[in-house]
């Protein structure tokens, strides 16, 4: 017996670990939303490109679009353009879209729309190896001297690439030095500053490149902000050239890197690019589904959401049955309330789905009462059990027919129309209550019937509670946990709550 108990415990623990593990995996790794209503921000970035086409010349517009390799998942990407061919290709880690047309006239508008979310994003890819050394550019005369003069203290005040870059940025921004002013040459724009920082780093053989980023924040127009990044051998380090801050904020999206301009235009002039960013809320579940539809990997793979919708509906009901069964088990073994079998309350709970709880309870009580009184009458006639039950069940069907008819005539059609499934279950319940009545008497069968009804109502409420349904359906590992509890309950030897009352006479409290 000991070894069997140990075996059962091990089984329960194994099931528990397996179930909890699968749930943890889904939540922590697959990032599955915990509740159905959980929503995520979805960023919609609209890029409008407008220009004047020169008549009778082919038009070719090349614009960078985000490479989308880290931090965000693209839900949807669209290029909206009339009469333009669209072609997207990769180039040095950037993505470039090329719009082309044989000819165009007047004002042309091209749109690029990108929808992004940070949920379900792949963890940042291991960065392709960046450069770690670059030859220093040829500088002449005063510039050479100024650069050297600036670099000497920087080298002294820094320990590694990271600190070197921030120190450089700080110095270039301080402006009080003549050397900086000389290198800036009167242009104090951030771009020029970034160029000077880059220049200094180049002289020091430190590779760096400008990156152009967009902030994901509700704005109607925004221009890409310039950042610098450098490769330290393992990771890309990002720096803000305006103040030397290190690290790219979470809400910044890298649009493109390198010194090329955002847009190159042939056969047109007066180009203007504007960005606008909007924030939308989208349920995490819908988000996953839309990712699935565009073949991005998401938790939908190998989950019940992959089933066709009618099967999903069915499974939403089926998968709650173990929950109901466990509740009945607990009600019976822990509380000690008697029910008809284990499965009957769950079946009645399923029937309540169609009749609504209130009507279901009324119907259940009323029809069972009628059925049992017919039974009581037939007992006088000394009919055999089977014959007696058959008559009872026939009367139950007649009663149901009458109730439906009455309900229809009174216009209460919705509540009182009895569907086939509840009818079958009710009939079965009456048969079983009658058998209990035969075997153990009226009082007992009344007790059992009430217990069954209470258990069924509780089961029903639990089985249609939508957060729970969502949770069990999304994380089927819950079923393993339920099974673990059931195995554990199979070896529960403690008292039932009712027994505390039953044996109260045997305690000192009961003596008094």
């Amino acid at each position: 017996m000991r070894s069997v108990k140990l075996h059962a415990r091990l089984l329960a623990v194994a099931l528990l670990v397996l179930g909890a593990g699968s749930i943890a995996y889904q939540i922590l790794v697959q990032d599955v939303p915990l509740t159905e209503s959980e929503s995520d921000p979805v960023w919609v970035v609209d890029t409008q490109l407008s220009f004047q086409a020169r008549p009778n010349t082919p038009i070719k517009a090349r614009m960078f679009v985000p490479p989308l390799n880290s931090g965000f998942t693209a839900l949807n990407e669209s290029f909206i353009s009339n009469n333009y061919g669209v072609n997207v290709n990769r180039e040095n880690g950037n993505r470039l879209v090329t719009w082309s047309a044989r000819r165009g006239e007047g004002q042309q508008n091209l749109y690029y729309r990108l929808m992004l979310t940070s949920r379900f994003a792949d963890p940042a890819l291991p960065p392709e190896n960046g450069p770690q050394f670059r030859p220093s550019p040829e500088l002449k005369g005063a510039e050479r001297v100024a650069a050297d003069a600036l670099l000497a203290p920087i080298r002294q005040h820094s320990a590694d690439v990271e600190t070197f870059v921030s120190e450089t940025i700080k110095r270039v921004n301080s402006e009080d030095s003549d050397n900086v002013r000389l290198l800036l040459g009167g242009d104090h724009s951030p771009e020029n500053r970034a160029r000077v920082v880059d220049l200094l780093l180049a002289v020091a053989h430190i590779p760096a490149e400008p990156v152009h980023t967009l902030q994901l924040q509700e704005t109607s127009s925004q221009q890409p902000e310039l950042w610098l990044r450098t490769f330290n051998g393992q990771n890309w380090l990002y720096f803000n050239p305006a103040d030397g801050r290190q690290g790219l904020p979470e809400d910044r999206l890298v649009w493109w890197s390198g010194e090329q301009p955002l847009l190159t235009l042939e056969g047109a002039r007066g180009a203007k690019v504007s960005f606008s960013v909007h924030r939308n809320e989208m349920s995490a579940l819908r988000l996953a589904q839309s990712l699935r539809s565009q073949d991005a990997s998401s938790f939908i793979d190998y989950s019940l959401y992959e089933l066709p919708v009618p099967s999903q509906q069915l499974f939403r009901v089926l998968i709650m049955i173990p929950v109901g069964v466990l509740l009945v088990l607990l009600i019976r073994s822990l509380i000690g309330m008697e029910t008809l079998g284990t499965f009957t309350p769950v079946l009645i709970a399923l029937a309540f789905r169609e009749t609504q709880v209130i009507w279901g309870v009324l119907l259940f009580t009323f029809i069972t009462a009628i059925g049992l009184s017919v039974r009581g009458y037939l007992e006088h006639l000394k009919l055999q059990l089977l014959a007696r039950l058959s008559v009872v069940l026939t009367f139950v069907v007649i009663m149901m027919g009458l109730i439906s008819l009455l309900g229809y005539k009174l216009g209460l059609s919705t509540g009182l129309s009895v569907a086939l499934f509840p009818m079958v279950i009710l009939t079965m319940v009456i048969e079983r209550v009658s058998i209990v009545w035969e075997e153990r008497g009226g009082a007992q069968s009344l007790k059992v019937a009430i217990g069954t009804l209470v258990a069924a109502v509780l089961c029903h409420l639990l089985m249609v509670w939508s957060p729970l349904v969502y949770f069990v359906f999304t994380f089927p590992g819950v079923l393993l946990i339920l099974a673990a509890v059931m195995v554990f309950m199979g070896h529960y030897r403690g008292y039932r709550l009712m027994e505390l009352v039953r044996f109260r006479a045997m305690t000192e409290e009961g003596e008094r």
């Binding site: 055999q384 075997e439 008497g441 027994e499 505390l500 044996f503 305690t507």
Partner: protein
């Protein structure tokens, strides 16, 4: 809190709960295959007869409609008898005939029954009117037990019986079950009969239980139930202990009746005996079962070999109640 304190108190007293009885005793000691032995009274009786255990004499069995005409022949030489469904439950369908008059039968309650009525009743038994699940059954015609008058003061109608719970052949607890008006002559506790604990060592009754309450007097006669000596107690215990060898059921409730002339007779066996015997004895079954299990463990290899007499002796020693109630003085 009320619940936790009660829980602890019950655990301390070694009270057995339903979960524990089902899991650790019924499921563990009783092989499901053996249940039919005790569910069918005729099989139980035949088995007992072969083993020489005293049971009420069987006059005959009627198992077909044609056989009903044999009734007259079967009861020819007997003035009184009992007709029972072999697989009935809760005492339903039992008809006690105490006398005959001018071709009529007189029931225990004094009603006159015509032979046709009696045949109709047997026909109902055979067709499964009283059997569990409604399948065909057999009617058993047997000796009518004449209750000893020892229990007259504390019993109303019907025949009292003694329930002894036997674990692996060791009697662990005993209870005298006394019919009341409410129980309508039946000795089933949940139908309102009272249960009175019996000291295993001496066979003297202790206090009683009625509907989960502790009581000292019979609810109908108001006589104290304690201090009555159950007759032939040695035989009762020996009978009960041997029922284990007979059936192989390790956790068994043995029901005995005390016949005025023949002494204790085994009436029926129960593979899932109820737990109210604990309230009647004011002692936990778990505590007592553990003592037996410890004993068996100590015996190790020889656990199953102890003779019935020595098993009974051990039980008497282990479960003796120290201060027995005085016999009630007649009013």
């Amino acid at each position: 809190m009320f619940g936790i304190a009660t829980w602890r108190a019950l655990r301390r007293r070694g009270v057995m709960g339903i979960n524990q009885r089902n899991g650790d005793y019924v499921l563990m000691y009783n092989d499901r295959r053996l249940y039919p032995l005790v569910d069918d009274k005729i099989r139980t009786k035949n088995m007992a007869l072969e083993a020489g255990i005293q049971v009420p004499d069987m006059y005959g069995i009627i198992d077909t409609e044609q056989g009903i005409s044999q009734l007259e022949h079967i009861v020819e030489t007997h003035g009184d008898f009992v007709i029972k469904p072999s697989q009935g439950a809760g005492g339903d369908g039992i008809l006690v005939i105490s006398d005959r008059f001018e071709g009529y039968y007189r029931s225990a309650s004094g009603r006159m029954i015509s032979p046709e009525e009696l045949e109709f009743h047997i026909s109902g038994i055979i067709s499964g009117l009283y059997s569990l699940g409604g399948h065909r059954d057999r009617a058993l015609i047997e000796y009518r037990v004449r209750s000893t008058d020892l229990f007259d003061r504390i019993s109303i109608g019907g025949v009292p019986d003694v329930r002894i719970i036997v674990l692996q052949g060791y009697p662990v607890a005993a209870m005298l079950r006394l019919p009341t008006r409410q129980s309508d002559g039946k000795a089933n506790l949940h139908q309102g009969a009272i249960g009175v604990g019996v000291d295993i060592a001496t066979g003297v009754t202790l206090s009683g239980t009625w509907h989960n309450l502790k009581i000292d007097r019979h609810p109908d006669t108001a006589h104290p139930v304690a201090g009555v000596q159950v007759p032939d107690w040695d035989q009762c215990l020996a009978l009960a202990a041997r029922c284990y060898d007979l059936t192989g059921l390790g956790y068994l409730g043995v029901d005995l009746v005390m016949d005025k002339h023949k002494g204790p007779l085994m009436l029926e066996l129960n593979a899932r005996p109820g737990l109210n015997i604990q309230i009647a004895n004011d002692d936990g079954l778990l505590r007592r079962c553990r003592l037996i299990e410890d004993h068996l463990e100590a015996r190790g290899e020889d656990a199953g070999t102890e003779a019935a007499a020595s098993r009974v002796a051990l039980s008497r020693r282990l479960f003796a109640v120290p201060d027995l109630p005085e016999a009630p003085t007649p009013p």
